[in-house]
């Protein structure tokens, strides 16, 4: 088992591709066909293009705020690619590429940052929970999903995301412990992108690695090169199989990096050096995966250029659709607080409508 070979106590990191796209661990290369690999790559690329565009829209004042994923595409797509349709995805708020892979329409993902609840209104079949802003709180939801799945023998696995910062939170502790105690089919992915806003990983915890935290819960943890989609894929795949055997949760620390700002209102140059960013730019997950695919003969630079062009147009088109939605109707903001609106709430709405009519 990978989690044995790469146990955190052994100070080893699971890698398949190095940062130049070379296979460093032939035995571990997953047997994936061209279509599958290209689907992973293309989703990472769509995530990247959407990300770049979103930043641009924000600068143009067309979107209010946005949390970039640049640099973290492999840690997201590599994981979700290892899931099946019936499995659940529990995002934090910086998982655009992973959500795309799970099937969320880009339009909806943009709607969220555009400021519309439609952005969390996913089709039930997608099995994606809404974006969760309160850090680490979503992990307990993952535990609950998995509990239901387990006692109803649904054969689902739940993948939940959290950041390096999130591991300091009490919610993280309670959720991982709960999942462990009941041997729940949960996979916790720590996207360790080295920063929680301006706070570095080293200020969050003295633990040697975040994977070490697994030991305190009696579960397995593993540190993976989070910019290597194949390593993320095999780690998740193994954790999934283990979970389905009823052997409980796995903690996967994806070592990655947030190449962009925390959100569009953040200026990372205040707190981190250009050298650090350059180091990680060299380790870009998309670049290395592209080289690998080209070496394999699955992909060409021409195709790549065409794809980027296609995606740029696509993203622009989608965002126009988003902008056309405009403001939210008054009725909509009242409608979903309860299944049945109380008389009182109905009155608040009616009175307000009357005011609007009169005020005209």
């Amino acid at each position: 088992m990978l989690t044995k070979t790469y146990s955190p106590l052994k100070d080893k990191i699971l890698e398949v591709l190095d940062y130049k796209g070379k296979v460093v661990n032939e035995k571990l290369v997953p047997k994936l066909d061209k279509e599958f690999l290209l689907n992973m790559y293309k989703t990472m690329m769509l995530g990247r293009v959407a990300d770049t565009k979103a930043l641009q829209y924000q600068r143009q004042g067309r979107i209010l705020t946005y949390a970039p994923i640049k640099g973290q595409e492999a840690a997201q797509v590599g994981v979700i690619a290892a899931l099946d349709k019936q499995d659940w995805m529990v995002p934090a708020f910086r998982e655009l590429a992973g959500m795309l892979y799970k099937g969320a329409p880009l339009k909806q993902l943009f709607m969220y940052w555009y400021g519309n609840e439609e952005g969390n209104h996913f089709d039930k079949d997608l099995k994606i929970l809404p974006i969760s802003v309160p850090i680490a709180s979503q992990l307990n939801h993952a535990a609950g999903l998995a509990y239901a799945s387990k006692i109803k023998k649904k054969g689902e696995v739940v993948v939940a995301y959290v950041g390096d910062g999130g591991t300091s939170h009490g919610e993280f502790h309670e959720a991982v412990n709960f999942s462990a105690v009941f041997d729940l089919p949960v996979i916790i992915i720590i996207q360790n992108n080295q920063w929680a806003i301006s706070t570095p990983r080293s200020s969050q915890t003295k633990a040697k690695t975040l994977a070490h935290k697994a030991i305190g819960y009696g579960i397995e943890g593993i540190q993976v090169d989070g910019n290597d989609p194949l390593a993320m894929y095999i780690a998740t795949k193994e954790a999934k199989e283990k979970a389905l055997r009823g052997e409980g949760p796995t903690l996967i620390e994806a070592l990655t990096y947030r190449l962009g700002p925390h959100t569009t209102s953040d200026d990372p140059s205040i707190y981190r050096s250009d050298d650090e960013v350059a180091y990680w730019e060299e380790r870009d997950p998309i670049t290395r995966f592209r080289i690998y695919l080209i070496e394999l003969g699955h992909w060409t630079l021409e195709e790549d250029k065409a794809l980027i062009k296609e995606y740029k147009d696509y993203v622009n088109k989608i965002f126009k659709e988003v902008e056309e939605t405009g403001l939210i109707d008054l009725d909509e903001v009242f409608k979903y607080n309860y299944e049945t609106m109380s008389e009182d709430l109905q009155n608040q709405l009616n009175e307000y409508k009357e005011y609007i009519k009169e005020a005209k």
Partner: protein, 325 residues
């Protein structure tokens, strides 16, 4: 019909709903094996198995947070918080998720769940075992807040809560858990959420209470037998949403209003009722609508608790004052 206490009614209801619906599960600290520190779930693990009635680690946020996931994935969780004073570690889950999941997902996911907890003072307990914190929940859109005062209502309201598609905070007045018995039907029935009960009709003054305070007002009324005061006593039963119609109709009739609650006075639940009365029955008022409420002090440990507890005598005194304004 069997005679039941409030705690019997809680157990009977959960048992029945677990029997009728495989998706109902109950859990919390000490809930499974021993059936909870108040024995509200006693025997359910033995009857329905360890998966449907179980002990959790000591972690309130996990208890409520996992309930969110369970509800999304098809279960109807009934988590128990051991005492309402220990709900605060779970408030993040309740306010940021439980209350908002339906709205956040535009109705894709509703969260049918009932968060049960014993609350209120008067049992001469340690710190954090005596608070009345209903208004903290009642202020949060997306939650319903229910408080029974009799065994019959307990079963009817708890049944309604379990069947409700939205999350319900179910506060149990532990002071009267075993105070008295009442005939409670064995078959399933519902007392609707959001409807108050006129316990006793009268035309001098409207008195509103809920939970353990309803009994205390009844006792106060007995003390007033020889006075010419006809109290209309309303048991609010649901704090959010609450039954404005019954409240307003009554105040329009009596012109006088007193609310009695053990929750702290300032920014407490009584203020809300008074504001509504002002909004909807202002011209009918013959006396200032009044609160008899917990002092704005930390509820004292047992040897000082009697200063805090609202006695029938004090209630009677206040009823007289408002009635003769």
């Amino acid at each position: 019909m069997p005679l039941m206490t409030i705690i019997d009614a809680v157990k009977n209801t959960i048992d029945q709903q677990m029997e009728l619906n495989d998706n109902v599960v109950t859990f919390g600290e000490d809930v499974g094996f021993e059936g909870g520190v108040f024995r509200a779930t006693k025997g359910l693990q033995q009857k329905y198995g360890k998966e449907r009635s179980f002990d959790t680690p000591l972690a309130e946020s996990a208890i409520i947070g996992s309930a969110v996931g369970m509800a999304v994935n098809g279960l109807i969780p009934i988590p128990e918080i051991q005492f309402s004073g220990f709900v605060f570690p779970a408030i993040n889950q309740i306010i940021t998720h439980v209350a908002r999941y339906r709205n956040r997902t535009k109705g894709t996911y509703s969260l049918p769940m009932v968060i049960r907890m014993p609350y209120g003072g008067g049992i001469r307990a340690l710190e954090h075992h005596s608070e009345s914190i209903e208004s903290l929940f009642a202020h949060i859109p997306g939650l319903k807040v229910v408080i029974p005062s009799t065994p019959y209502d307990t079963k009817g309201l708890l049944t309604a809560a379990i069947k409700d598609p939205d999350p319900v905070i179910f506060l149990e007045p532990k002071r009267i858990y075993r105070a008295f018995k009442q005939e409670v039907p064995t078959e399933e029935y519902i007392v609707p959420i959001g409807k108050a009960k006129v316990v006793q009709q009268g035309d001098t003054i409207t008195v509103v209470a809920w939970g353990a305070m309803v009994r205390e007002v009844e006792n106060a009324i007995k003390l007033l037998e020889n006075e010419k005061i006809n109290v209309e006593l309303i048991d609010l039963r649901t704090i959010q949403p609450y039954d404005k119609q019954t409240l307003i109709n009554s105040v329009k009739k009596t012109g006088r209003f007193l609310v009695v609650h053990e929750a702290y006075k300032s920014y407490g639940p009584g203020a809300e009722l008074i504001a509504t009365i002002n909004e909807q029955a202002f011209l009918y008022l013959e006396a200032p609508p009044t609160r008899l409420a917990g002092f704005d002090i930390t509820i004292p440990l047992p040897k000082g608790e009697h200063h805090f507890i609202i006695t029938p005598k004090r209630i009677a005194n206040e009823i007289k004052k408002v009635s003769s304004f």
